[in-house]
Amino acid sequence: MFWTATSIFLVAYALIISEKIHKTKVAMFGAALTLITKVLLQDEAFNSMDLGVDWNVIFLLISMMVIINIMTKTGVFQYVAIKCAKVAKGEPFRIMILFAIITAVGSAFLDNVTTVLLLVPVTLLIAEQLEINPIPYLITEALASNIGGTATLIGDPPNIMIASKAGLSFMDFIFHLTPAIIIIFLFWMLAWKVLFGKRLHVREDLKKKVMSLQENEQITDSALLKKSLIILGFTILGFMLHGFFHYEPATVALMGAATLLLVSGEEPQSILAEVEWPTIFFFIGLFIIIGGIVKVGLVEDMSRAMIAVTNPQPQDMTILAMVMLWFSAICSAIVDNIPFVATMNPLLIDMIHKIYGLQSGTATAEHIQHMAMMPVWWSLALGACLGGNGSPIGASANVIVVGLSEKAGYKISFTQFLKYGVPVMIMTVFLAMIYIYVRYYLLKWY
């Protein structure tokens, strides 16, 4: 059984990295093999909290996709983007900064891919009006979506997975990660000011073209927009309070999605058809494959190796946190961060058992959220999300931006993306490392 589960895991990982076969096909086939070989029983796969599918993650993702699918029909994102370009008075650098901010904020509360999918066309249009090269803008938006997505529980799938596994609330992320992301974002924008501030200039007549664009025409359904914004507001409020009322984030998201579906007047068939089912089934397949390697003890072996390297102590896991941050960042630049975090989550849970001398499966929230352990979870989240900027294939948003740009006639080569992405990844992870070290190990501010 050990070698069967290990082989399925390794081959699936290799195929996902190679991108020779669609990752959803790989995950689903790997999951089917895990079940057919009885590495994992179907009951375990569907019902076990430790080994099976994390339904909290699945329903949170589906619900947020439903909310976003309805909201995108209102044209609000395009409205905000054109409005921002006009607020910037057509100044190219100001537009770059404002677009980075709206991408980051959009990605923090919605989905990274949807945010860039909606902003890239507007960016291309504005760049065309200003007669400037859109590539630096587009890469900036991809990077901003990954940085912004790190700030909240719902911003990026790795955060959703970490929150579910470690029992962390939306406010935990706001309290611990949002400040880090604000600092990182400010430093990044300063670096961008040095890099682009004096380079981006256009003629006055071209700025007038941007100022003549009509943002109000973008709103296609103002009644639906009002409903969507009210329900999104309540859903975010629900996320903020879910820990207090002892609800899972998925319950809050499901309530928001169901209410919006009910009042929107949209047909459920069309809205549900737009849910990214391949992503959902990718998650389901991955959870089952990872459940297999947890059950046969591979994760336990990996955990022993990690303990040997980082020597964590019950009250001090500084080295583990630092290693986790950089290891996650580098791996996430190469591998999709979703399978990476899916593997690291059970590994950290196993390490907690070993560090605190617990019997398998007996760790409670007290151990999982131990003061010494928390910086490790935040390091994993920061590393996995920020690491996505390290390559054009490091995050789904990067792949989408590169694809849309090429389709519009602006090819972003692999190395061209690296020229922007790698320095930003190194700078942001380095800042995250300083944040973790200063906040948790110098100031002891948990």
């Binding site: 044209g75 395009q78 054109i82 890239v120 066309p121 507007v122 291309l124 249009l125 065309e128 003549s212 664009l213 009509q214 943002e215 025409e217 973008q218 296609t220 849309l404 389709k407 519009a408 006639g409």
Partner: protein, 163 residues
């Protein structure tokens, strides 16, 4: 009845290096508004329709929503037309296309056209050489003339500008 019995054989052809303006002139003069891009041996390489010519003018990112943000899009469109003037037929043509062989039954052509919503299908031989085309109207006229008691005549056009 075979496709070969009712296909049209007078077609608009273009070479892969045919430029945008020439393509537009060719298509403007033809019904249906299609040009078949062929090599020197008349092997069919692709098809260019009026829709393809229009699509290539619009940038890939342009949507109905974004188009609404212009109070007057004339200048934008002129710029786009200028941009595409160097495009060749091989850049614009649809390379993946459905086709029929001359021995196929008219019923198959009818089903393909109805199922996929095509207006016209090229007819090629086994080696890919273009032989003709068949349109919705050709099929309809043939079916009605052969399978019913009445003939389809020219219904005549009404020039609304004279009303």
């Amino acid at each position: 009845m075979d496709v070969s019995e009712c296909m049209r054989t007078k077609l608009v052809l273009a070479k892969p290096d045919c430029d945008y303006k020439r393509l537009l002139c060719k298509i403007a003069d033809s019904v249906p508004r299609l040009a078949y891009v062929v090599d020197d041996n008349y092997k069919l390489l692709g098809i260019v329709s009026a829709v393809d010519l229009l699509k290539v003018i619009l940038p890939s990112y342009m949507s109905v929503g974004l188009a609404r943000s212009f109070s007057d899009g004339t200048e934008f469109l002129q710029k786009q037309v200028e941009r595409v003037k160097d495009k060749r037929a091989e850049d614009i043509m649809v390379k993946k296309f459905s086709f029929l062989h001359p021995h196929h039954q008219l019923l198959k052509a009818d089903a393909m056209i109805a199922e996929k919503g095509f207006n016209t299908l090229p007819v090629i031989d086994e080696k890919g050489k273009l032989l003709g085309e068949i349109t919705r109207l050709d099929i309809l006229v043939n079916l009605v003339n052969n399978c019913s008691d009445y003939n389809v005549d020219d219904a005549g056009l009404v020039d609304l500008s004279l009303l």
